[in-house]
């Protein structure tokens, strides 16, 4: 059986393997005896299974993901939220924690340009339903926004949230990481910059060895010595599931 290099950069149309020894998985397809990539991405071979993990691309919504989105539009009963994917998310008045009276002006709750943290409650072929019922789901106050590739979110969060906890602790910032790659940061302005720099660095260099140590060094050097927020200061948001597995 031929060997296939792991973590190799490939492009659409590139033949990854010939013959029937390997099985095509996500990011690939079989064309007769060939397995071909559909992405600019990194190969991921486990046993006989070949995948290609895309390096860039829009967020693909998944149920139970927590996302950070922007209010784009509203009707008498729904808000429409841009979360960087092909279709707008829909947040119904019934799905927020407050009681909204019939006929109320929805803009009094969330208006155009506001950023919110929501959970995806349902995904169909052409619609994404959102919910704001749950711990930490809310409208976000003034803060800095950073956009990372959604495929890099597990790296930003780290194993069991280790990376993001380190950034929060060292910079004393509140941080919300949406699975869609939108990250909201709130703290002292200097610290917001440092947290953003760290997150950008993870986004850019996610596949490098020793990144955690480098981020730790960066934070040590640049973050001000503000006291880390205590758990009480912080509203809990579960950076649930899909943690880093590598």
């Amino acid at each position: 059986m031929e060997t296939i290099e792991n973590k190799k950069i490939v492009v659409p149309g590139e033949v990854l393997a010939t013959g029937m020894d390997f099985l095509p998985s996500s990011g690939t397809y079989r064309d007769k005896d060939k397995i071909v990539s559909i992405y600019v991405g990194l190969t991921n071979v486990s046993g006989r299974v070949i995948r290609v993990i895309p390096l860039r691309g829009r967020y693909m919504p998944k149920r139970d993901d927590t996302i950070v989105g922007k209010i784009m539009d509203m009707t008498f009963s729904n808000w429409f939220i841009d979360m960087g994917c092909a279709n707008m998310g829909v947040l119904s008045v019934r799905e927020i924690s407050e009681f909204v009276e019939r006929g109320a002006d929805l803009a009094e709750y969330f208006s155009h340009g506001d950023y919110v943290v929501c959970k995806i409650s349902k995904v169909t072929r052409s619609s994404v339903d959102l919910s704001m019922r749950g711990p930490g789901l809310r409208k976000l106050g003034p803060g800095k926004l950073v956009q990372v590739d959604s495929s890099k979110v597990p790296r930003v969060i780290g194993k069991q949230g280790s990376m993001i906890s380190m950034i929060k602790d060292k910079t004393a910032c509140r941080i919300v990481v949406g699975q869609n790659g939108t990250v909201w940061i709130q703290g002292a302005p200097e610290d917001e910059m440092v947290a953003a720099e760290a997150i950008y660095k993870i986004n850019q260099e996610s596949h490098r060895e020793g990144l955690t140590e480098e981020i730790a060094a960066l934070l040590e050097k640049k973050a001000s010595k503000n006291k880390p927020l205590t758990r009480e200061d912080e509203e809990p948001i579960m950076e649930r599931g899909r943690n880093e597995t590598e």
């Binding site: 064309d31 600019v40 860039r56 691309g57 092909a86 072929r125 260099e205 490098r208």
Partner: protein, 232 residues
């Protein structure tokens, strides 16, 4: 026989390609062949407006080809879409669509914007090369890349990648060609001028061979965006 710029009949002009040149876009690329320079940006898949155009079965691939006003070889090109640019935009869409699965994007659109900064023949083909790279750069799943070039038949000879001066030749036949480099399937074919069938088929074979060289340049540029970081 040597060509006016000294190239052999099957020799392409010098090529240059780069991705990620437009940060605001989901994907972007520059492709240069000879003196023809094309920029392409991809936005999407994003929600399609106006809403009545949305199709729950299939997303829309929408392309806009434009020559910058100063990019022509003679007079200033008047801005705004004309018949030529609208037709070219349409054939570029059709040249790229075979590598995409648009049914994955209900109610959505993938927009491709192509701007020519300088032109010396082969502009729609350079546009297709840039656009294919921009789509891949945007992380959109693609069966293959698309590589395009023009082939000419002039003075009883097949020449690949004709330049502006060759294109102006009396009696020159110009073939705009695009294919999927792996399978060789053809996704753009436009013929301007007289040509016999057996010559045409020969010309297409040569175009297919030349397209492989273009595909190499495209692949290299797509990887280069990530290479620096890997080696570091």
């Amino acid at each position: 026989m040597k060509r006016n710029d000294g190239r052999a009949p099957e020799e392409l002009r010098k090529m240059e390609a780069k991705t990620g040149i437009i940060k605001r876009a989901d994907g972007s690329a520059m492709f240069r062949i000879g003196e023809t320079i094309a920029y392409a940006a991809v936005y999407g898949p994003r929600e399609l407006h106006p809403k009545f155009m949305q199709n729950p079965e299939k997303g829309l691939l929408r392309c806009n080809y434009n020559m910058m006003a100063f990019s022509g070889s003679g007079d200033r090109v008047r801005p705004s879409a004309n018949r030529r640019s609208r037709e070219i935009s349409m054939v570029i869409e059709k040249a790229l669509e075979p590598v995409l699965d648009l049914t994955a994007y209900p109610n959505a659109v993938i927009d491709i914007f192509i701007e020519l900064v300088q032109t010396d023949a082969g502009t729609r083909c350079a546009g297709i090369c840039a656009a294919a790279m921009a789509l891949a750069d945007a992380g959109i799943p693609m069966k293959d890349l698309v590589s395009a070039l023009s082939v000419g038949y002039l003075r009883n000879e097949i020449v690949v990648d004709i330049n502006g001066e060759e294109d102006m030749n009396e009696g020159a036949t110009d073939i705009a060609f695009a294919c999927l480099p792996i399978t060789g399937e053809i996704s753009l074919l436009q013929v301007d001028g007289e040509i016999k069938k057996d010559v045409l088929l020969k010309a297409l074979e040569k175009a297919k061979e030349a397209a492989k060289k273009i595909a190499e340049v495209q692949r290299k540029a797509l990887k280069e965006r990530y290479h620096d970081k890997h080696d570091a």
